[in-house]
Every structure is written in C-alpha cells, then in structure tokens.
C-alpha cells in the first residue's frame, strides 16, 4: 500500500516536470515575465464571475446588481463585462482566446447606463459607471494629470488619475456605484451556508430517526466537533449561561470552519478566499461585538466606567476608562484581524509557492523542473498545514468570542470568576499547541 502511494506520487511529479517545458514551448517571451502581484491579488480577491475549473478564460456568469449614480438599480449578467477575443501573440504568432473587458451598455427607462470593469483606476477590479470626460473641469483636471510628473505611470497607458478610469487609451469620468452584486465570494458564502445547514441538519435528522442511538462515521465526527466546542469551550467558560450563547458560538465555529476549508479547495465550489477577506471577518467581529455588549451585565459597565483601581487612575483624568473603552473595540478588532491575516497568509504562501515555478521557469528547463518538485512539495505541505490552521483559527475565534462574552456576563457576586476565566485561557492555549503534536 505504502509503495503504491510512493509510485503514484512519483508519477505525478514526473508528469508535472514535463509541464513547464510544455508551457514554455507554447508560451511566449512575455509569459516569462509573470506579474506575481496581479495573479496573487486576483486569487485572493473577489470577482464578478467564477472561473470554470481548469480554464482561465471562461467564467461562470453571476448577477451584477448596482445602484447607478442617479439612484436606479440595475442588474445584468457578469458575462457581459468581458468578451472573447482572439489575441495574436507577437512572439510565437499563435492566437489565443482571451477574456477582454468591454463597456456594458444598459438601456433603462430611455437612458443608457455604461459600466466597465476598472483596471487603470483607483477602483481596480471593481465595476464603475463611466461618463464621457467632456466637461471643462474634466478636461482641465486630465490635462493637469497629464503634465504632473509626480504621478506614477505613463499618461494614457497606466497612469491612475483620481476620479477617472482609463479604458482603451481613453479617460472616462468614473462613479463607483453601490454594488451588491452576487460576486464569487457571495456565492461561496451561500454555498457555505448550505453546507453548514446540511451538516447540522444531518445530525438533527439522525436524532429524529434513530433517537439516542450512537452516531456512526460522519455523524460521529460532527457530534465530536459539536461536543468539543460546546463542552470544551462554551460550557467550561460560560457555565450556566452556555445554553443562551451556544447557538451563536456554534454557528460561528462551523461557519468559519467550513468557510476556511472550502477556501482551500482550488476549483469551483471552493476556492473563494472567504475568511481571508476582511469584509467577512469584519462582519463576524461586529456580530461578536454586538452580542458581547448588548447582553452584558451592569457589573461589566461598572468595570469599564469605574474599575477597581486606585482613585488617581480614574479621577480626575479618566485613564482607565479610556483604556477600557478602547478595549471594548480592540477585542473584536483583534478577532477580525487575526482570522483575516491567518487565512490570507496561508493562501498567499500557497499561491507564492506555486508562482515560484513560473518565476524560476525564466532561468531554463532544469530550474523549472527542480522548482516544480520543490514548489509542489511545499504547496502540499502548506495546504495540509492550512487545513490544520483552518480548524485552529475557527477554534480560536470561537474560544476568544466565548471569553469576551463571558467577561461581559460577570455579575460581580463572585470576584474569583474573573480569575477563573484567566486560568481557563491557559489550558486552551495548550490545546492549540498540542494539536500539531497529535497530528
């Protein structure tokens, strides 16, 4: 069994060794100059369409929903944002099909709205509404930008002028509309919601059908996770209040966990970098902030506005109050940034490792082949590590959210409770460390 796996891995590696050479043959001189930053941001960011697996050209069209400058809501398919074009390659003379951005013209109530996917603009990769830059003020500002040598790039090629978008060598006045399109990330969110619901409901269905029989296989794993979070984190910290907060915290945990894991799958149903997107983690953190502060006790607010410290620290200069109020916001902010940075970092490393192949390909065949093996091994290792990180980050988020909530639930009768909470923080960090060891 073991040797069979080894042979398979070697076969895959051998096959992949040939790939860059093939690519180089079919590619061009320009291909050697890989725009690492652009590829990375493309993979980390959002998109109006979702790439069809194994194709860079075709996208799954998604609805675009925007509110134009005059307040009208406009919807159209994201497939209209690009058009297929045969692009001739100068170096090899071959033609390739490529998706090229185009101006979308929408007729509504006798008015024409024009949108384009911005590239050279302060809203790069976002949809903007464009208007011809033909008023006097537009002309003077563009002229000023043209002559301003402090701006980077070349005018009419890649110079970004604030408030204007460059398309086909021409500057248009741009307006960033209110954009609630169903983007790649939004669709991935809904897929995640469906997966989590299915996972949880399958356990519920088991109970409905089999009563108190012990769950098997997948059910058992789900129940183990639920029990791990509920008993290990929520119950041990929140004690008798755990029933009240368990639904929120468990939902958080499973939502984050599934988003993390789905993000690691490279092709269609996955691949959206959800938890590595600050919008997502921001919403989660805001929700924790709301839950923490809305359900908090009097004692919690007393601790903030009149803490148990020597008088000179809180009067006449409210030093402690300032720190405590600052703390209300920094706690969820830390949650937001921690999850975001960890997940984005993981994705970034995997993409960078993969891109190394194309960077090294410029140095010749041998370098390309060698880098394929090294990059692939490292990528696999990083992805495996990311699976672990996905779990740990979901766990840590839930753990910290539970701690923040429990801090706001103190009723002041037991002064020792605060210390208890601090004690509990230690073993949980141990668990976090011990997970890789058990792996």
């Amino acid at each position: 069994m073991n040797s069979r796996i080894k042979i398979t891995v070697l076969a895959i590696l051998a096959f992949l060794c040939i790939l860059p050479a093939e690519m180089k043959a079919s590619g061009s001189g320009e291909e050697g100059k890989v725009n690492v930053k652009e590829i990375m941001f493309h993979h980390l960011g959002d998109g109006y369409g979702w790439e069809v697996p194994f194709s860079h050209v075709y996208r799954i069209p998604l609805p675009v929903i925007v509110r134009a400058e005059d307040g009208k809501w406009i919807t159209f398919s994201s497939s209209r944002l690009t058009k297929m074009e045969e692009v001739a390659d100068d170096a090899t003379g071959k033609t390739e099909t490529e998706a090229v951005p185009q101006i979308v013209e929408i007729e509504k109530d006798g008015k024409t709205y024009r949108f384009v996917l911005a590239h050279v603009s302060s809203h790069a990769n976002k949809l903007v509404e464009i208007f011809p830059a033909d008023t006097e003020s537009d002309k003077t500002r563009l002229a000023a930008a043209q002559s301003d040598s402090t701006l980077s790039g070349e005018y009419g090629v890649d110079r970004v002028v604030d408030g204007y978008v460059l398309f086909d060598g021409k500057y248009y006045r741009e307006y960033r509309p209110l954009d609630i399109s169903i983007t790649k990330n939004v669709l991935a969110l809904f897929i995640t919601v469906i997966i989590v619901t299915a996972m949880v409901m399958s356990v519920v269905r088991w109970y409905a059908r089999k009563g108190l029989k012990a769950p098997r296989k997948g059910m058992g794993f789900m129940e183990m996770l639920i029990d791990f979070i509920y008993t290990g984190v929520i119950k041990s910290t929140l004690k008798d209040k755990s029933k009240k907060f368990a639904p929120f915290l468990l939902t958080c945990f499973f939502f984050i966990l599934v988003m993390n894991l789905v993000g690691l799958i490279v092709i269609f149903p996955g691949g959206a970098n959800l938890t590595g997107n600050i919008s997502i983690t921001l919403v989660l953190a805001v929700l924790v902030f709301i839950v923490t502060n809305v359900t908090s006790t009097k004692h919690y607010w007393k601790e903030i506005f009149w803490p148990d410290v020597p008088l000179f620290l809180k009067f006449p200069l409210p030093i402690m109050q300032f720190i405590e109020i600052f703390g209300i916001f920094t706690k969820p902010a830390a949650l937001c940034v921690r999850l975001f940075a960890n997940m984005m970092g993981g994705h970034m490393i995997v993409i960078t490792l993969t891109l190394l192949i194309f960077i090294f390909a410029a140095f010749g065949d041998m370098a390309a082949k060698g880098s394929v093996v090294v990059s692939l091994l490292f990528s696999i290792f990083m992805l495996a590590l990311d699976v672990l990180v996905s779990f740990i980050q979901a766990y840590v988020f839930t753990l910290l959210a539970t701690l923040f909530i429990s801090m706001s639930q103190e009723d002041g009768h037991h002064e020792s409770k605060h210390e208890e909470v601090k004690h509990e923080q230690l073993p949980s960090e141990d668990t976090e460390v011990s997970i890789p060891a058990t792996k």
Binding site: G45, V200, Y207
Partner: protein
C-alpha cells in the same frame, strides 16, 4: 490596499448569509442537537449506574446464596448429628424398656407361680383337712356309738371352753 478595505456589498451579503444560517440553526438545529446530546449522556450515565447497581446486587445475591448454602450445610450436619444421637437414644430407650418389660413379665410370672403354689398349698391343706376330718369322723363315729361316750365328750369339751 484593496485587500484591507471592507467592501459594502460583501458585508451586506455576509450579514444576510449569517443571519439566515443563524436563524435556521438556532430554530431547528442546535437546541435539538444539544438536548439530544445531553439526553444521551444522561442515558449512558444512568445505564452505567444501573449496571453498577445490578453488579452490586448480583454480588450481594451471590454472597447471600453462599450464605444460605453454608447455613443449609450446617443445618444438614446438625440434623445428621441429631439423628445419630436420636438413634442411639432410641435404641437405648428401647433396650431399657425391653428389659423393664421382661422384668415385669418375670415378676408377674413369679407372682403367679407364688399364687398357684399358695393355691396348691391351700388346696392341699383343704384336702388334707378333709381327709383328716373324714378320718376323724369315721373314728369318732366308731367311738361315740354310746350315749355315755357322747356325754363324756361333751363335758370334756365344755371343760375346755371353761378353762379357756
């Protein structure tokens, strides 16, 4: 920097997605699961408790049975001993009774022998006295054939009585 700026559209959809998920799971998911998990844990605890109790009961029952068996054995031995004792006692008693009975019979025999001897003696005396009277009568008849002899005798007898 675009990675670090939250996007309104995504924030909006994220709120909606989370709200939907939370409401669905809060209504139909978590309470059922947590309740059932608690219930099952309780059932298992109860089962373990019950098994422990049953084992204790079984052990005590076994001990009881052993105790009863031991007691029965003891009783049996005692009974055997008693029986043996009773047997010897009965034999003893029977022997005693038999000897007593034999003595009684012998005594009775002795008495009857004595009695019959006495009877025989009496009979013999009677016979003897009868014979002697007969003899005396015959003799007296011969002697007292005259009135003179008769009155002599009567006088003699009267003298005797007077002397007495």
């Amino acid at each position: 920097m675009e990675l670090f700026t939250p996007e309104l559209g995504l924030v909006f959809w994220m709120f909606i997605a989370f709200a939907i998920l939370f409401i669905v799971l809060w209504k139909w998911g978590w309470p059922v699961i947590l309740k059932n998990m608690d219930e099952r844990a309780d059932t298992i605890d109860k089962g373990v408790e019950y098994a422990k109790e049953a084992k204790a009961q079984l052990d005590s029952a076994r001990a009881d049975a052993q105790k009863y068996i031991d007691e029965a054995r003891k009783q049996q031995a005692e009974m055997l001993r008693d029986a043996a004792k009773m047997k010897s006692q009965i034999i003893e008693e029977a022997k005693k009774e038999a000897s007593e009975e034999a003595k009684k019979v012998m005594d009775a025999a002795k008495v009857s022998i004595e009695q019959s001897r006495k009877e025989a003696e009496l009979q013999f005396r009677n016979e003897v006295s009868k014979f002697s009277l007969d003899i005396a009568e015959k003799m007296v008849r011969n002697n007292l054939q005259s009135d003179k002899a008769q009155s002599e005798l009567v006088n003699k007898l009267l003298d005797e009585i007077e002397n007495n």
